[in-house]
């Protein structure tokens, strides 16, 4: 046989059958394994969420005026959650809960979530993710840090802005823009890759949701070499109505990219750039149909009679139906009724002149002019047609039209202002809305004064008089209201002046700039609070102590038995937590010194010396009794964070602890705490000295002595702070400097000065701007320093678990 077919080995097929059958059985099993795993996992998460969610809500909605029992529960929860967080799964669930919660909450509650997230050190897990090799993990980390507003992550994340992995890059871009207001500038400056439309959509969404955002002038990026940056800048220019880039817009109409061209044309139309019409006409020929339509649409808005010739040419030469129709529509917009309906018209009925108008294209232009002249002279009949309605508007008396528009806008504005005003009555007002004063009126009162029927039917004069009169009345009423409100605010601020202080931050080199009071904005303060928590913790002990002295529930008799001591510890902890919750940590030392002085004197009168008894007892003592070793180690960290002298004594007792780890750690903590406390004691001494000076200041002849004493204190403060690891100073010292300068100039009582600082006077706006500028620079420097210390923390983080 010359020709023979190769033999088929059916065994191979049977082997394949077995293989596929085996795989089939495997998949069958996997279906149920997967299913069980999925449901088990979701069950486990749900169960854990049930446990953790109440704890989280306790933390989030913990009230500062809670009862002692509640406070005790709160402390127990703190320990409990610390224990739970040792398990990675719990950390994951907790992160998930917080991420979900932040989506549903806003305002203060949301900020609490952000704070809690970082307090529980969950952000360190997210930081770890940034180092992972898998893109989805890195992206998840970035997302987490962004959603939880970890500002310290900004420096890390912005490095990914040009990452070659698309998802990581996009996530980093969103994060950069979200975390800081200046992020958008950085992003537009540095991005090398294209920005997809979807990404632009998301970035704009981030910007739109910013509060108090002053966008940069986006025209700066119209010269970018990155095509997408130019495109996005154009869209942002349009969105923020930045009409200061007309020349660039006209140039961009000539761009090769149709999207850029289209956006530039849209901007030209929106901003009414009349000088662009010539360029639009010149580029028209080489454009796509949709761009042509867009150009014609723009010409219909901006065009004049001299543009009709160009449009006429289009009508006669253009082959595309849509473009042709649009050109006719544009002509009719510029010169109404140049083209009249031709479809379905019985031509036998039409007059000769009308026929001529329709049929003879060569004479159309002159007739357009005639028509326009006629239109100017005669009032037009009412019409439903869009173009006609526009034309009607053109023929309205411009002054009357302006008045109508003004009235409408005014009333809307007025309503908005009044609504805002009423809403904010119970809130803290930092400045008087004086810039709105001429616009302010009250709608309801206006309505009652002016009968709507009469207003509608009466002539313009009577309407004007009525409105003028009512306006006066309204204005006066509103002015009174504002004044009254102002007084209320002042009174409230006076009442709260002991507590309501702006948290002030200065750098350690404040000695050199001691005359410049650095006032941070609320946002900056928030940001700084988050980042400088560690620094503030070092300073807050003295504040807490001073504040604690104010509390009149302090027992007078000596605390002897352990129960009383434990109760006292709860009180103390409750106070600590209260302070954390209300931001008392950020009080200025000046207020503390005054209140401290008063209370201290008062306490001295009431009791011989109750404080030392309590002062010598550590709140951690009671907690240590019931804790396991792991919790003790965590509590030791807490001691370092919040502890003071009494903890030193307590730590000394731990030298004899049965556990080796606790002994070793307590020694380390003791040393660190002692090192931390040495400047604290000095600072307290300096504060005590201020009190003495303040008391003396009541006598008129002390004016000269004050600066001397204060400068002495300053020297002490700065010198002590310079020794600290972090270069940031406490808020108290910052305020102290402010107090000094203000007192020197105005000799104002302290609480009045406090009010001045909280409610920034309008006349000082310019000064404040300067201060803010300086402050911004200072804050940037500080952020860099905080970041560097943060990096150290991150690096040392794994050691904590060893």
């Amino acid at each position: 046989m010359l020709i023979s077919a190769p033999k088929i080995h059916t065994d191979l097929l049977w082997d394949l059958t077995i293989l596929f059958s085996g795989l089939g059985i495997l998949f069958f099993a996997f279906v149920f394994i997967f299913r069980n795993r999925l449901s088990a996992k979701s069950l486990k998460i749900a169960r854990q969420k049930k446990i953790l969610a109440p704890i989280i809500s306790n933390f989030l909605f913990y009230e500062t005026d809670a009862t002692k029992e509640e406070n005790y529960e709160y402390i127990k929860l703190k320990i409990e959650i610390r224990d739970l967080l040792k398990i990675q799964f719990n950390r994951l669930v907790l992160t998930e809960i917080l991420l979900d919660l932040q989506k549903d909450l806003s305002g203060d509650s949301r900020n609490r979530i952000f704070k809690l997230y970082q307090n529980l050190e969950l952000h360190l897990d997210a930081f770890k993710k940034l180092r992972n090799w898998r893109w989805e993990i890195v992206s998840k980390g970035i997302l987490e840090l962004t959603q939880m507003r970890v500002l310290a992550a900004y420096g890390f994340i912005k490095k990914f802005i040009n990452d070659k992995r698309g998802v990581v890059r996009k996530q980093a871009q969103i994060a950069t823009v979200t975390l800081k207001h200046e992020g958008i500038s950085y992003f537009l400056d540095t991005t090398r890759y294209g920005i997809s439309e979807w990404q632009q959509l998301k970035l704009l969404d981030v910007l739109r949701n910013f509060e108090d955002f002053t966008p940069p002038r986006f025209k700066a990026w119209l010269t970018s070499k990155n095509r997408d940056v130019v495109l996005f800048a154009l869209r942002l220019i349009k969105h923020y109505n930045q009409n200061d880039a007309n020349k660039s817009l006209i140039e961009l109409v000539k761009h090769k990219n149709d999207q850029i061209k289209s956006e530039a044309i849209q901007c030209i139309k929106d901003f009414g750039v009349f000088e662009a019409v010539a360029t639009l006409k010149s580029v028209f020929r080489n454009c796509r149909v949709d761009i042509k339509l867009q150009i014609l649409d723009t010409i219909s808005s901006l065009g004049k009679e001299e543009d009709i010739e160009f449009l006429q040419t289009l009508v006669s030469k253009e082959s595309n139906f849509l473009v042709k129709s649009k050109a006719i529509s544009t002509i009719n917009t510029i010169a109404p009724e140049t083209y009249v309906p031709t479809e379905g018209i019985d031509k036998n009925i039409t007059t000769k002149s009308f026929e001529t108008n329709v049929e003879d294209n060569s004479t159309q232009l002159s007739e357009v002019m005639n028509n326009n002249e006629l239109n100017k002279d005669d009032s037009l009949p009412a019409s439903d047609h869009k173009e006609d309605s526009i034309d009607m508007q053109d023929h309205l008396d411009p002054e009357l039209e302006d008045e109508i528009i003004f009235d409408l806008c005014f009333m809307e504005e007025l309503e908005d202002i009044l609504t805002e005003f009423n809403e904010s009555e119970d809130q803290e007002v930092n400045y008087l809305p004086l810039d709105f004063l001429p616009m302010v009126s009250e709608v309801e009162e206006l309505k009652s004064t002016v009968d709507p029927q009469t207003t509608e039917n009466s002539n313009v004069e009577s309407k004007e008089i009525l409105e003028e009169e009512s306006f006066k009345v309204e204005l006066e009423a509103i002015l009174d209201k504002i004044k009254a409100h102002d007084q209320d605010v002042v009174t409230e601020d006076e009442k709260d002046s002991e507590l309501e202080f702006l948290p002030l931050v200065v750098e350690s080199n404040v000695e050199e700039d001691s005359e410049d009071l650095i006032v941070t904005t609320d946002e900056d303060i928030l940001a700084m609070e988050v980042k400088e928590e560690e620094v503030i913790k070092e300073q807050r002990i003295s504040n807490l102590y001073n504040k604690f002295l104010e509390v009149d529930w302090l027992p007078k008799q000596e605390l002897e038995n352990s129960e009383t001591i434990a109760q006292k510890s709860i009180d103390w902890m409750a106070f600590v937590n209260e302070s954390e919750g209300t931001g008392i940590m950020t009080q200025t030392s000046a207020s503390n010194t005054s209140t401290w002085d008063e209370n201290y004197t008062g306490d001295e009168d009431k009791d011989d010396n109750p404080i030392p008894d309590f002062y010598g007892f550590s709140i951690f003592q009671e907690l240590f009794r019931t804790c396991d070793v792991e919790s003790k180690l965590i509590l030791l960290d807490e001691i370092l964070a919040v502890g003071d002298e009494k903890e030193v004594n307590f730590l000394k007792t731990l030298k004899d602890d049965s556990d080796k780890k606790v002994r070793a750690k307590s020694e380390i903590i003791l040393k660190e705490l002692q090192a931390l406390l040495s400047p604290e004691i000095e600072a307290e001494e300096s504060i005590a000295q201020i009190q003495t000076n303040e008391l003396e200041a009541q006598q008129p002849n002390l004016d000269k002595e004050k600066p001397e004493s204060i400068s002495q204190i300053n020297t002490i403060d700065v010198s002590t702070l310079n020794k600290e690891e972090d270069s940031l100073k406490s808020l108290e010292f910052c305020f102290l400097n402010g107090l000094i300068s203000e007192n020197d100039n105005n000799q104002m009582p302290q609480f009045e000065l406090d009010f001045e600082l909280v409610g920034t006077p309008i006349e000082d706006k310019e000064d404040n701007q300067e201060i803010n500028e300086i402050n911004k620079k200072e804050v940037n420097k500080k952020e860099e320093k905080v970041l560097s210390s943060f990096i150290r923390n991150i690096i040392s983080f794994p050691k904590k678990f060893k």
């Binding site: 097929l13 049977w14 279906v31 893109w135 998802v167 439309e197 959509l201 969105h239 949709d290 139906f321």
Partner: protein, 475 residues
Amino acid sequence: MDSSLFKIFIEYLNIVFLVFTLVLFAMFSIMGYLSTRNSIHYRNKNSFVDLSRIMASPLAPSITIIAPAYNEGLTIVENIRSLLSLQYVNYEVMVVNDGSKDDTLQKMIDAYDLEKVERIIDPEWNSKPIRGVYKSRQRSFSKLTVIDKENGGKSDALNTGIQLSENKYVGCIDVDCLLRPDALLHVVKSFYQRTQKRVIAVGGVIRVANSSKISGGTLEEIRLPKKWLARFQLLEYTRSFLLGRMAWGRIDSLLIISGAFGFFDREIALEVGGYDTKTVGEDMEIVFRMRRYMHERQLPYTIEYIPDPLCWTEVPESIKNLVNQRDRWARGNLETLFTHKDMFFNPKFGRLGMLSYPYWFFYEWLAPILEFIGFFSIIIFYYMGILNLDFFLAITMTVYAFSIMFSFYAILWDLYSYNQYTKTKDILILMFCAIIEPITFHPLVVWSAIRGNYKKLFKVKSGWGSQVRKGFAKT
């Protein structure tokens, strides 16, 4: 001599069948791998996206959803309500009444308070005359536009919609389809996520909604179909959309976008002249033409595929309707392949010509014919006593095992990705379907394909056929 030659011929025929089968296994295995990778990538990538925040963005593009309606009086009002409640701001619902003989138009006019409006229509556009354009007097239905035109078929209705739309993207859907509320957000994301390539079309998965609980135009509870025929189709759709198309999407060689849920860049759709009105496989044909258009101009482009279950539809529950549907699909397939025959193994079209087209030719068009011939050959050979029984049994069992294995994998992957059917009973039923499908449902599909090809090749006049809808509202 003659008998030995015949024997050799038979042996070579066996080898051809074997090679064909092994290539099929290889292709399906590669598809399984690619779709798995693509699904994982898609899942990871989209786990960071909060689509809802974007729906009212000033940069969000405008979309027109075109829904042709022919004798849909029973369900039209409810279906439109469902379309009007999608989570997106910048969109228009354009229902094209394709000369319905029932009260479809009147029901729409009554339910949505429609009035006739003037609309400029390009006289050069080639479609059946438009009788009127309707808009609602009520602001709450301002997104709705109804076009009433003379009957011209689905393609003609869609073309009218594309022409009259003024938006950047057009979505062509079946009016009886149920879209998930965030469907348009997914579509916009797909159109907008590329920087280097222009996305000319977006397709998505079609899921089976038979027996599911639907209320007020929204899917309330997903249930397994009660009818076996629908169950088989559910399994088939899962395999095809979740594994097949996902794999083609991964290598950017998708050649078909389902007519029930397909979105197009309007500019390109108009450039290629819209849908071909002479074919019943218009959804496949327009994709071929759009790809050709971009390829010939060497423009960077892509077609995106969304695996999320965004579109739910009612599949035929009677054998007659099913056979009609598959008959039409087979004819459409043949027509499209014939129209674009110059692409067959043409390297000018890259992967499209060298991979997608040949696959479609051999395994979508030729496979059922070979199966049909093979089935009859076996019977004849058996009676002639020349059947290689060993080989026949071995290859049949291999194909059968592979078929079950592949279906199981599809079920597994569906469970892992979307977990639609949570009851153990439902999963077991689907698995049972996978086991009996090759001997029950598949022959029906093969027969339908043969019928369709016969009709086309022998020019037997046949149109779209019709399917009587039960209507979602009544399920």
